[in-house]
């Protein structure tokens, strides 16, 4: 029996550390050297199949640039099951920023959130400013998952998402998109999905 679980994953990290590239590699297996800062999609989805037959569907939220001037809305963290906090191994300051984001997550997000710290641009190891030991030690202290990735080469990208998928609770009701399912589960009734109107008694939705 296979079952599919859906989880909300939020991305965090300083601008230009490769958050969107990481997702693009994971979701579409693509990389673009000259990618402009984040544009376009409200969220992307990708599914990971686990060995036990469970499939985990990630609903991946990008910051849409709202992190740049510390203007990320609380809504961004709502119902997030997991977070990937990205730093650039060639910029030691980006790890400091990552620490700030992790503190922010610990303050804002659900306490059960799974956080993965991700050192991106491992293909540029020659210009490394953040050692693996330093990042790993910090991750262990804070109870975070940790990995290095290269969105450019693809190294480690699928692995970190798979590792997160394995760590997510397979029994609990995932906090699904729109909170609708969760609200329904929490209260037994009255969660509403605005995109699904009541077919049985549907009125003309036109309001003219």
């Amino acid at each position: 029996m296979s079952k599919q679980l859906q989880f909300k994953l939020v991305l965090l990290g300083e601008s230009a550390v490769g958050k969107s590239s990481l997702v693009l590699r994971f979701v579409k297996d693509q990389f673009d050297d000259y990618r402009e800062s984040t544009i376009g999609a409200a969220f992307l989805t990708q599914t990971v199949a686990l060995d036990d037959g469970t499939t985990v569907k990630f609903e991946i939220w990008d910051t849409a640039g709202q992190e740049r001037y510390k203007s990320l809305a609380p809504m961004y963290y709502r119902n997030a099951n997991c977070a990937v906090v990205v730093y650039d191994i060639t910029q030691s300051s980006s790890l400091d920023k990552a620490r700030n984001w992790i503190r922010e997550l610990q303050r804002q997000a659900d306490p059960s959130i799974i956080i993965a710290l991700c050192g991106n641009k491992s293909d540029l190891a020659a210009r490394r400013q953040v050692t693996q030991e330093e990042a790993q030690k910090y991750a262990e202290e804070e109870g975070l998952m940790w990995a290095e990735t290269s969105a450019k080469s693809g190294d480690g990208v699928a692995d970190i998402f798979t590792a997160i998928a394995k760590k997510l609770p397979t029994t609990a009701q995932p906090a699904a998109r729109a909170g609708a399912a969760r609200a329904g589960a929490a209260t037994g009734r009255a969660g509403v999905d605005l995109n699904k109107q009541n077919a049985a008694t549907s009125n003309d939705p036109c309001n003219c």
């Binding site: 709202q66 001037y69 009255a190 509403v192 699904k196």
Partner: protein, 575 residues
């Protein structure tokens, strides 16, 4: 922000109206910078944690140390603020709304939510119950639909027939019906009693609990129009016409619209007050046409500088909430008029936290519908036929003179919501009370609303039959909210201005959300009109905005919300 900091529009304020406008303008391909001097989203419609709410209240006290033009405006807008000194446990688990509101299931805001894609970001629940306060019995159920009327055991057959006839009338096109002729402006209750021979109790229930009238003199036509929109809304997502947004409603929804703007390359900068705005006139000529219409020859640009922010921004157009409008722009700004007829009134408001649910009578439960149709809710759990779980989200209506010590002229609509709308921790409920205030009297909001809060507490479920401790609120905040004084220009009407101020929106519980969407739509089209006149040549080349190849007049067909594009991830079928 691009290297040169150039924008089409700079928007001040992340209130619900400005946020919807920002999303629509960004989606239309315009470059938007959206700023707020607050550290939070939502402006005067924000959703705040209890700590943030306490801070919000304290910073608006007249004697508070901090000053700024914005805070001075806020201190005129919000007065007579009193709050509990202690804040309950888990203050971060509350999302308290500064603008509590119900969302009609068929209406402008729902249309904006669905058409913009914002509906996929947040959660909603149905308003479970609307009850009418009756000092003798507590809460009376309100028959909200034809099914309810049919099932009611409290009404005689004759009454049922009369009520049915009225509900048919009210849900149809009544504008030209003979019953209404000559009565458009007469009091609605009087109309119900004379034109439809309805009894006093039924008339009051219709006026205050179904049509959300606030006084016995509310005019018939507007009450009927409201009622029709509510009757037509019921059934879309469930039997209640109203939805309640999770995490404090409009404040959270505003964040959703801001995200849509950001996803469409809107730039967000919060927590930075404006340092200066300079209007740089680099035009050859600087004249408005004699008719006052906008003249495309005007080429003013605004240069906006923020505190603690290195680069200045330039914009062709400024949109501002009334609260954040810089004083220096007031004289030349175009204050857009209110879209609905009902006046924006001063209100006494109360926000209270209680730890017991409201006890409703058991019959007429919205989700006890025995009909075999599938439940309208997205949740797949079958709805149990007998549900003893407490009512989470409800409205209790106090008609005028229904409460000793209460108002004899105004109805009070108490809105109560808890964990079910993700606004409070388990077992806690937020009570919102509000009533229009007569500004000529200097009665304090606390004095006006305390009897209602006591009545609400008396309607709660006791934790055990023996419990003798009278219920007390865990937290209260009382304040008066006045319409912004900045709703008019100091000079003549600046129809050609490139500074637009958001129209005032109704502060009534059932009207705010739709009024905001209507206001945003007006802002959007006005902004497009201005920018189109100024930058005609630029429109056709902007990438990713509008369909290419339709020449210079692409804006003729511009819609408030273009169809959601077919990004397969975004539009995945099962969503």
């Amino acid at each position: 922000m691009d290297a040169d900091g150039n924008f089409d529009v700079v928007i001040f304020g992340t209130g619900i109206t400005e946020s919807i406008a920002a999303a629509a303008l960004s989606k239309a391909g315009l470059k938007v910078a959206h700023l707020d001097s607050n550290a939070y989203y939502g402006g005067d419609e924000a959703s705040l944690t209890l700590e943030e709410l306490a801070q919000w209240a304290d910073s608006r006290q007249p004697a508070a140390a901090q000053t700024s033009p914005y805070l001075s405006e806020q201190r005129n807008k919000f007065t007579s603020i009193t709050r509990s000194s202690t804040i309950p446990d888990h203050p971060r688990q509350y999302s308290v709304s500064l603008a509590p509101s119900l969302i009609t299931s068929v209406g402008p805001l729902i249309t904006s939510l669905v058409s913009s894609g914002v509906s996929r970001y947040g959660g909603y629940r149905l308003l479970e119950r609307v009850g009418l306060y009756d000092s003798a019995v507590g809460i009376r159920n309100v028959p909200g639909s034809k099914e309810d009327v049919f099932k009611s055991q409290e009404m005689s057959l004759l009454d049922k027939r009369r009520l049915m006839r009225f509900l048919m009338f009210a849900s149809g096109d009544f504008e030209d019906k003979k019953e209404l002729l000559g009565h458009q402006d007469s009091p609605f209750i009087e109309f119900l009693r004379t034109a439809f021979s309805l009894g006093k109790e039924v008339s009051e229930a219709i006026a205050y609990a179904l049509a959300f009238c606030t006084s016995s003199t509310d005019p018939t036509l507007t009450a009927l129009q409201r009622l029709r929109s509510y009757l037509r809304s019921s059934g879309r997502y469930g039997s209640s016409p109203f939805l309640v947004g999770h995490y404090g409603g409009l404040g959270e929804i505003a964040q959703g619209f801001c995200r849509v703007s950001a996803v469409n390359s809107g730039v967000y900068i919060l927590d930075r007050p404006i340092r200066s705005i300079i209007s740089s006139s680099n035009s050859v000529e600087n004249t408005a046409t004699p008719t006052g219409d906008f003249s495309p020859s005007r080429r003013d640009k605004y240069v906006v500088e923020l505190e603690d922010f290195p680069e200045p921004m330039t914009a062709d157009l400024i949109i501002s909430s009334a609260s954040l409008l810089p004083e220096g722009l007031r004289e030349t700004a175009h204050f857009l008029p209110q879209q609905t007829s009902s006046t924006v009134l001063s209100r006494a408001r109360c926000i209270a936290i209680i730890d017991r649910p409201i006890s409703f009578p058991t019959s007429l439960r919205a989700d006890e519908d025995p009909s075999p149709e599938p439940a309208s809710v997205a949740d797949t759990n079958p709805v149990p036929s007998v549900d003893n779980s407490p009512v989470d989200t409800s409205v209790v209506v106090f008609p005028p003179s229904s409460l000793e010590g209460g108002s004899s002229t105004s109805a009070v609509h108490a809105f109560i919501t808890g964990q079910g709308s993700m606004s409070a921790p388990q077992g806690k409920y937020i009570v919102y009370l509000s009533v229009p205030m007569d500004e000529t009297q200097d009665t304090l909001p606390e004095t006006i609303l305390n009897p209602y809060l006591d009545a609400i507490l008396s309607l709660t479920v006791s934790p055990s039959p023996e419990a003798s401790i009278p219920p007390t609120p865990l937290f209260t905040l009382f304040y008066a909210e006045h319409p912004s004084e900045r709703t008019q220009s100091t000079s003549t009407e600046n129809k050609s201005s490139t500074v637009l101020v958001s129209p005032p929106i109704s502060t009534a519980l059932s009207e705010t959300s739709d009024a905001a969407s209507d206001a945003a739509e007006v802002l959007f089209f006005k902004a497009i009109e201005i920018l189109k006149a100024r930058r005609r040549e630029a429109w056709t080349v902007r990438e990713g905005s509008v369909e290419a190849g339709s020449g210079g007049d692409v804006f003729e067909e511009l819609k408030f919300w273009p169809p959601l594009d077919g990004d397969p991830e975004e539009e995945a079928g099962e969503w």
